[in-house]
């Protein structure tokens, strides 16, 4: 059943030597790696949100700590995160055009936004009006906000490392794919905040 070829007859070969050496979006393995990460973390967030409502369904008073989180800083931060989509979009588009100068500008702007929402995140924790060790409500709210903050931190650090690399080098085409995928992850981090914001700030009110 096994085929063997007469040695004098060399069959045609599929030449791939002309193909590009990197590619963007779902053509790139990096995209699939990032999407895998996003699938995992979306599942984590969804499970914490389910736990939140599960716990809420088991007690009479919600929030158990009497006072819902203050709306001010959470809402301000939502606006900042949504606004950061703009420089992020700029950086992603610049990367896909291999425009180094614009990539640098986009990444630095993103970093500034990152610093802003991390700073305001501290104020958010301070105005949650509950502690993690008071009751189950406090625990799940801190867990939800804490997990999202870990994402903000890691994404800001990733962006910092990439920004430094885009200024110092060494650079090759693949690094623009990294910038593009970092931007995709950034979208995930800021857009996943919207349902989390709704749960933390409005799940304790409605």
């Amino acid at each position: 059943m096994k085929a063997s070829l007469p040695p004098d007859k060399q069959p045609a070969m599929l030449d791939v030597g002309h193909l590009p050496t990197f590619a963007f979006g779902h053509r790139s393995p990096m995209w699939w790696g990032t999407m895998g990460l996003i699938a995992i973390e979306t599942t984590v967030f969804a499970l914490v949100v389910m736990s939140y409502f599960y716990l809420r369904s088991h007690v009479d008073v919600w929030p158990m700590s009497q006072f819902a989180p203050d709306l001010l800083w959470g809402t301000v931060n939502t606006a900042i995160m949504l606004a950061s989509a703009l420089p992020n979009w700029y950086a992603k588009r610049a990367a896909e055009r291999l425009d180094l100068q614009a990539v640098r500008i986009g990444l630095v702007l993103c970093l500034l936004f990152g610093l802003a929402f991390l700073g305001i995140r501290i104020l958010e924790f301070a105005t949650l009006n509950t502690r993690w060790d008071i009751n189950a409500y406090g625990s799940v709210v801190w867990m939800l906000l804490g997990l999202h903050t870990v994402h903000l931190l890691t994404d800001a650090y990733d962006t910092l490392v990439l920004t430094v690399l885009m200024f110092t080098g060494p650079l090759e085409g693949k690094r623009y794919v990294d910038v593009s995928e970092n931007a995709a992850y950034w979208y995930f981090v800021i857009f996943s905040w919207i349902p989390i914001y709704a749960v933390i700030y409005w799940g304790a009110r409605i």
Partner: protein, 637 residues
């Protein structure tokens, strides 16, 4: 046969490829290894050592239970034994061993030179190993977990389990699930983006399909147990109240989160062996597996249903009756896709020319044992019967019939089947038969009596029982069976150690199989394929060669791989994979310090994050020389 396979690569090119894809030598090189075959072999051996450790724990339990009123081990040690046994077999053996085997075979089956993220693969292996070692270090220091492998709250909470025992268990979960999640991402990316040209999704070997389905399940199942154990450890260490009813927490939340992971986990263990079985049956029946589309759809259906079953582990908890009815129905429905596959295999065997070799024996044992385990599963899916048998040895018998029959027997078959590929030598057939029959008989002698013990009311997790209950004879029988399994596993080890050096040389394709891993030398060269093949069917080695039959235009000087499209595997671009590096290992050490440190102080999350970030950054940071070489030959999209 290997000898009449056409070889196109000039010898010089083969040598260059070998040099390019080999890991560096020496001690630093050993820790820098990232070749998927090297990592996978280490991974398989590590999981097998944990399997042996878990087996020894089981034997200790069986010796303790061999006669009534036995005083061989203390109740406290007994609690640790069954917790460690279950945790080891589930978290350190059954799930990871499937991923370990897949990391070796998948690239070879799909015509790839590597996995997608080879450094991350090495990192995941080290994380897994450190997590397992931590758990055993704790056990030997008498701080092993003692609350059962599913660590139900409130028993596992701070009030009833003070001390560090459960903390080590919870962090072991963090280690192993982190590793499993990374392996899943690597496998998905490898399978979807690195198949050889022409291997469209509907030509993928069934084993690769099982790993793709399993990996997607991992993405959605494992986060639940990580979240559950993180909430448990914060309850224990920083005073949160997730599972504390006094402050609005809920202990059944633990059960939901755990079994939302735990039931799919059964299928994470069970689905990859379905791929082993499809490979082995096709080869030894000498024909393609019947009804390939039905097989693939059945796998996908199983994966979906697996997420709708978790409450059947909780029938004894106080839950709405309507909900229980739904989960009973779902538990019965999942039998359908499993039955589809079993009938397809029977049809394959029926219409083939069977070669009775050891791998096939293990697969046939699967049919018998899994059938029995499945039937008791149907019994337990009934709420009324489950309430009666809950927490008895009937459940112990059921779960071992399912897990050993469904996973361990096919896994041993897989070792016999692919060992020649791993080592270049055949395992001894005579020892193999002794191994098989002792395992098969020992297994039934050990576990069948447990059905009867369970029906008579013997509870799980008791360290002894009084003579008056008359359970001594059945328990002694079970112990004799367990020792027989022990002997059979020893024979397997002897067989492996002897055959590794003195086994009959295997050649490239000792079984005349049809899939691509058998087209390369045994063991395969560092680059797997000296020429990347072009695929024209599901069993390429059983087909006449198509045109074109191989790829040209990839450099041998660098670790260049071909990236192809998701559905059709059309060539898309060429990519250089990273060089070998010690940094994944060092980063894993840093993460280990963070995880273990956080058991003792929450501030470890802060200070230990610094070395984690530093090592991860050095790992990522590109090398100037390589980047310059790459830039010079770059082709932008």
């Amino acid at each position: 046969m290997s000898s009449d396979q056409p070889t196109y690569a000039p010898a010089q090119d083969a040598a260059t490829l070998q040099r390019t894809w080999s890991d560096p030598p020496g001690l630093v090189g050993w820790f820098s290894a990232i070749n998927h075959k090297t990592i996978s072999l280490r991974f398989m051996i590590t999981t097998f050592v944990f399997f042996l450790a878990g087996g020894v724990l089981a034997l200790l339990m069986r010796l303790q239970l061999a006669r009534p009123d036995n005083r061989l081990v203390s109740p406290d040690l007994y609690n640790q034994l069954f917790t460690m046994h279950g945790s080891t077999m589930m978290f350190l053996f059954a799930v990871p061993v499937m991923q370990a085997v897949a990391m070796y075979l998948v690239p070879l089956m799909i015509g790839a030179r590597s996995v997608a993220f080879p450094r991350m693969n090495a990192f995941a292996y080290w994380i897994f190993t450190f997590g397992g070692l931590m758990l055993y270090a704790a056990f030997f220091l008498d701080i092993g977990p003692d609350v059962g492998w599913f660590a139900y709250a409130p028993l596992s909470g701070p009030q009833f389990s003070p001390g560090k025992r459960v903390d080590f268990w919870a962090q072991m979960i963090t280690f192993t699930e982190l590793a499993a999640l990374m392996e899943a991402v690597i496998l998905i990316t490898t399978i979807l983006k690195m198949r050889a040209p022409g291997m469209s999704l509907n030509r993928m070997p069934l084993f690769v399909w099982t790993m793709l389905v399993t990996s997607f399940m991992v993405l959605f199942a494992m986060p639940a147990v990580m979240l559950a154990s993180t909430a448990l450890i914060t309850d224990r260490l920083v005073g949160t109240h997730f599972y504390n009813p006094a402050e609005g927490g809920d202990v059944v939340l633990w059960q939901h989160l755990f079994w939302f992971f735990g039931h799919p986990e059964v299928y994470l263990i069970f689905i990859p062996p379905l791929g082993f079985i499809s490979s082995i049956i096709a080869t030894f029946a000498r024909r393609p597996v019947v009804a390939y589309p039905a097989m693939v759809l059945a796998l996908i259906a199983t994966a979906f249903f697996a997420f709708g079953l978790w409450v059947h582990h909780m029938f004894a908890a106080n839950l709405p009756e309507l909900g229980k009815t739904f989960f009973t129905a779902a538990s019965l429905v999942i039998a359908i896709p499993t039955a589809v596959q079993i009938f397809c295999w029977i049809a394959t065997l029926w219409s083939g020319h069977i070669a009775w070799r050891t791998p096939l024996l293990f697969v046939l044992a699967f049919f018998v044992i899994l059938l029995l385990g499945g039937l008791t599963g149907l019994m337990l899916a009934s709420v009324s019967l489950d309430t009666q048998l809950h927490d008895t040895f009937f459940v112990v018998a059921h779960l071992h019939y399912v897990l050993l029959g469904g996973a361990v027997f096919p896994l041993f078959g897989a070792f016999y089947y692919w060992f020649p590929k791993f080592t270049g030598r055949m395992l001894d057939e005579r020892l193999g038969r002794w191994n098989f029959w002792l395992f098969f008989i020992g297994f039934n002698v050990a576990f069948f009596p447990m059905h009867l013990l369970g029906l008579e009311g013997m509870p799980r997790r008791i360290y002894t029982y009084p003579k008056a209950l008359d359970w001594g004879a059945l328990n002694l029988t079970a112990t004799v069976g367990a020792l027989t399994i022990g002997v059979s596993v020893l024979l397997f080890i002897v067989n492996v150690l002897r055959s590794r050096r003195h086994g009959a040389p295997a050649g490239a394709d000792p079984w005349q199989a049809g899939t691509l891993e058998w087209s390369v030398a045994s063991p395969p060269p560092a680059s797997n394929f000296e020429q990347v093949p072009v695929v024209h069917g599901r069993y390429p080695l059983w087909l006449p060669p198509g045109t074109p039959d191989r790829v040209t235009g990839l450099t041998s000087e660098h670790r260049e791989v071909l990236i192809t499209s998701v559905v059709d595997a059309a060539p898309d671009h060429r990519l250089w994979l990273p060089s070998s590096s010690p940094w994944p290992f060092l980063c894993a050490v840093a993460v280990t310090i963070l995880f273990i440190g956080s058991i003792f102080t929450p501030w470890a999350m802060v200070w230990a994050a610094v070395p984690v970030a530093a090592t991860a950054t050095v790992w990522f940071w590109p090398k100037r020389h390589m980047t310059a070489v790459r830039s010079a030959s770059e082709v932008p999209p």
